[in-house]
Amino acid sequence: MDRLQEIRFVLNGKEASYTGSAADRLLDVLREQFRCTGVKCGCREGECGACAVLIDGLLRNSCCVAMGAVEGTSIVTIEGYRETARFAVLDRAFAQLSAVQCGFCTPGMILAAEALLSAHPHPTEEEIREGLSGNLCRCTGYNAIVNAVKSAAEEGEGLW
């Protein structure tokens, strides 16, 4: 039964710690203390997915996570994910199929795609739409993004 003093976790593969309040929002801490500005703030209400990160491999909206809840977990943001071979495949597919316009939703979309493909390496279109259903995009109309994920699943055969 510990009063939380120092919150320890792994961020993009490196040991990290936080000494502020356990009630602080993961979204703010990632952006302000750890300079992970690829984590975007769209709504702060769990509605848009722009702030999505992976916590122990699961997609989570970092605006709905208090720092005390990340103690002992491993967090991956787009800054860490971009170093992976899987990212390279998604990156190419998103670029080729014009799935990026302003780019604000893209980090969250990419991590939602990663979570989806980890669970369903050969997703149906319905599974893709469900997997991305918590991520809003104001620009593309979604079809290009769905196509990009479909294409990444094919091009990245064996990676997921």
Partner: protein, 275 residues
Amino acid sequence: MVNTSGGYSAFSLQEALELRASQDVIPYAGGTDLMVGKHRDADYLFLSRVPELRQITEDAGYVRIGAAVTFSEALASPLVPQLMKEAVSGIAAPAIRNAGTFGGNLANGSPKADSVLVEVASDAKLRLVSRSGERTMDVDGFCLGRGRTALRSDELIAEVLMPKQSPDCCFYEKVGGRSALAISRVSFAGIFDTQDGRISNIAAAFGAVADTVLRFRQIEAMLIGRTIEEARALRDSYVAAYAEQLVLTRGRVSAEYRRAVCLNLLNAFLSQCGL
């Protein structure tokens, strides 16, 4: 600098209950209700690493879902009843289902809570625990109104007890604005069962239309013990009884619209039951 504000982490139920009783803390499970809106200047009691609250188990009578089990975990469990899975799979989107929990859905006290709707329809019970003991109560009695529950300030919800049943027919429908992230506008869960040709259970629960999930046992009683033939003859007066009882609070969508949707869903349920 070490700032010690903001929270406690518990690693066993006993620790959590000690803290709950002795400190001014807010239980925190998935954070999907607590973190929305304004920042609270309170100490949280983080529950996600309390193993006793994270399990799904079964005994002779019940499937027992730990209060800190997430919706995604429930969807992956072979023990969780299908009707509950149907409702939970319609909650928001993956990132919310990976965080949101059964205990949080209950304690938040919203009449829109999708898992609570199924619990009310299923005659589920809750096990509430505190340092000084525990009690088991009906979900119906737990929810008192918007944001109000029977939870005491020294208590935690430990688990939801879903009666094991294999009814003849289950029905679930949520009519929302858009599919993903739609907090229910109107939701409905129905359970129908017969024994020796007579109706033994016909539970109908309505979500998101009043201060709590609604269920009218006195109307259900009209059909309990009846044969299918008798129930068919009573169907119109049965639906009329609901029409009279469904006096809805005004909300974002007009009360008349929501009442019409409720009755349509009730009718669809009755038809599916063969009535």
